[in-house]
Amino acid sequence: MPPSIKPASTEPEMLRPELVFVGLQVGSREEALSFLSRRMLEAGLVSPGFPAALLEREKAFPTGLQFAEAALALPHTETRYVLQPALAVAALAEPVEFLAMGAPEQSLPVRVIFLPAVLHPDWQVRWLSRLVALFQTPGFLTGIIQSPNRDRLYQSLRAAFRNAPL
């Protein structure tokens, strides 16, 4: 359903169980980004140019962020590759190295990847702002890393977003 015919007051669901991964085994950030972006492509959320554009942008503007509990990556690319907003979340079995946002000389052992497919209506920026607030919430990243399975992680992410401050 195209976003234009959705009621303006309803925020579409960003999280989908099929885009939540626990114990994902990848050998490099490129492999991780390819895997996740292809899943988004298969789900019809992004256009075929998305996976390559995502890799390119990560190379030009790295997205690793270090938090007290863990390092995470927030890869993303231009809105023109996005058909429908969504967020892929992956807890990795082993950390993979991402370069740090704003400090590409620094490499971070990333345990969790958040890959938003972003259009840019206001509600979605507010939603991303809630995500950033969650990153700073004690226990949030540890909870993701320790999630036993996809279903538990999906349910706890949904609950966290419902309660997240703006």
Binding site: A60, F61, T63, E78, M101, H120, V125, S129
Partner: protein, 108 residues
């Protein structure tokens, strides 16, 4: 006090910059700053800097001197040293009055 302009810039001007801008607007509202927060694409920074008072920059790191102060926007995303950054921003927007010279009291 005239309204000041904060520019927020990142690689493509979406996602990180928009998110940072929203968080700065929230802080600005709480602290009653008279500011306009504008998001600008990295490539258009030079052009936009002319009408602005401060640049909050996410990435890439840019050493060009635009003639106005620059701060890192990362604390707005990570929360790390956020208080310090907010204080720096506040001082740029609202510079503390220079201490007035002591009045001389000649002959008294």
């Amino acid at each position: 006090m005239p309204q000041k302009v904060i520019l927020v810039s990142c690689g493509t001007g979406v996602v990180t910059a928009e998110t940072t801008a929203l968080r700065i607007r929230k802080i600005a509202a709480e602290r009653k700053w008279q500011v306009e927060v504008r998001v600008v694409e990295f490539r258009k920074l030079a052009q936009a800097a002319a009408g602005a008072d401060v640049i909050v920059q996410i990435a890439p790191h840019d050493s060009t001197d635009y003639g106005i102060p620059k701060l890192s926007g990362l604390p707005f995303l990570t929360g790390f040293e956020l208080d310090k950054t907010v204080q720096e921003l506040e001082e740029i927007l609202n510079p503390p009055d220079k201490p007035k010279p002591e009045p001389t009291e000649n002959g008294l």
